[in-house]
């Protein structure tokens, strides 16, 4: 049973560019959440997608956007990259609001130069 799959694992982008990160949820999960984890910090909530809509958003600018597809997979898009966007981006999936099933992927390490 595959867990949460994220791609790519590592990415280097130039300041000002745009990036798309991808996430496939764990089998049976229909909800995808995205978190940003800066070095030495805890994950910070970006947003959550359920039924192909953004259900809740954290304190992140509009440069961060997302999408959920009918098969529950999701994308995170970041426009106009800043050096401060360098972080580990984590995807977590769950079955609707069930906390105990909340499962994280291994993340995408984004470096902005």
């Amino acid at each position: 049973d595959a867990g949460v799959t994220q791609s790519p694992t590592h990415l280097i982008k130039t300041r000002g560019q745009q990036v798309t990160l991808r996430c496939s949820p764990k089998s049976g999960h229909d909800t995808v959440s995205w978190y940003q984890q800066a070095l030495g910090q805890g994950p910070q909530f970006i947003f959550q997608y359920y039924e192909e809509e953004e259900r809740q958003r954290g304190n992140f600018p509009d440069r961060f956007s997302g999408h959920q597809f009918p098969n529950y997979s999701s994308e995170l898009n970041v426009n106009a990259l800043l050096l401060g966007d360098s972080a580990l981006y984590l995807c977590a999936s769950s079955y609707d609001r069930e906390w105990y099933g909340y499962t994280f992927g291994s993340g995408t390490r984004l470096t902005v130069v």
Partner: protein
């Protein structure tokens, strides 16, 4: 701003010792307090979780103690092993089934644990 204050930032114990990690929260409108374990290069993995109507919960060598009146909870690792060396995060989440409407987990800044053989 950080709504979950975690301490210490780092911890070194000998094998067999009992590391204790503490967390304090401010807002009482949360009903789910999980602990996550993260190894380098991996995402956080759920270790153990507690709801505030329970004062203590044990799963194997891991125990959560919860003090609702003090708004604090802690993780104890009994008979710690070198394989327990990782970063540990406490977090809080709303009871979404109550309709509180918050679907995010709020994390502490983490505690890097090193267990020396």
């Amino acid at each position: 701003q950080q709504q979950v204050k975690q301490s210490p930032q780092s911890l070194i114990v000998q094998k067999g010792g009992i590391p204790i990690i503490n967390c304090a929260y401010e807002n009482t409108a949360f009903d789910y307090f999980p602990w996550y374990q993260q190894f380098p290069g991996k995402g956080p993995a759920l270790l153990i979780a507690i709801r505030p109507d329970v004062s203590e919960k044990k799963e194997g060598r891991f125990t959560i103690s919860f003090n609702k009146s003090a708004k604090q909870f802690s993780l104890h690792i009994m008979d710690s092993q070198p394989g327990d060396s990782a970063t540990y995060f406490c977090a809080k989440g709303a009871d979404t089934y109550s309709g509180a409407g918050s679907y995010q987990l709020t994390f502490g800044k983490g505690t890097k644990l090193s267990v020396i053989p």
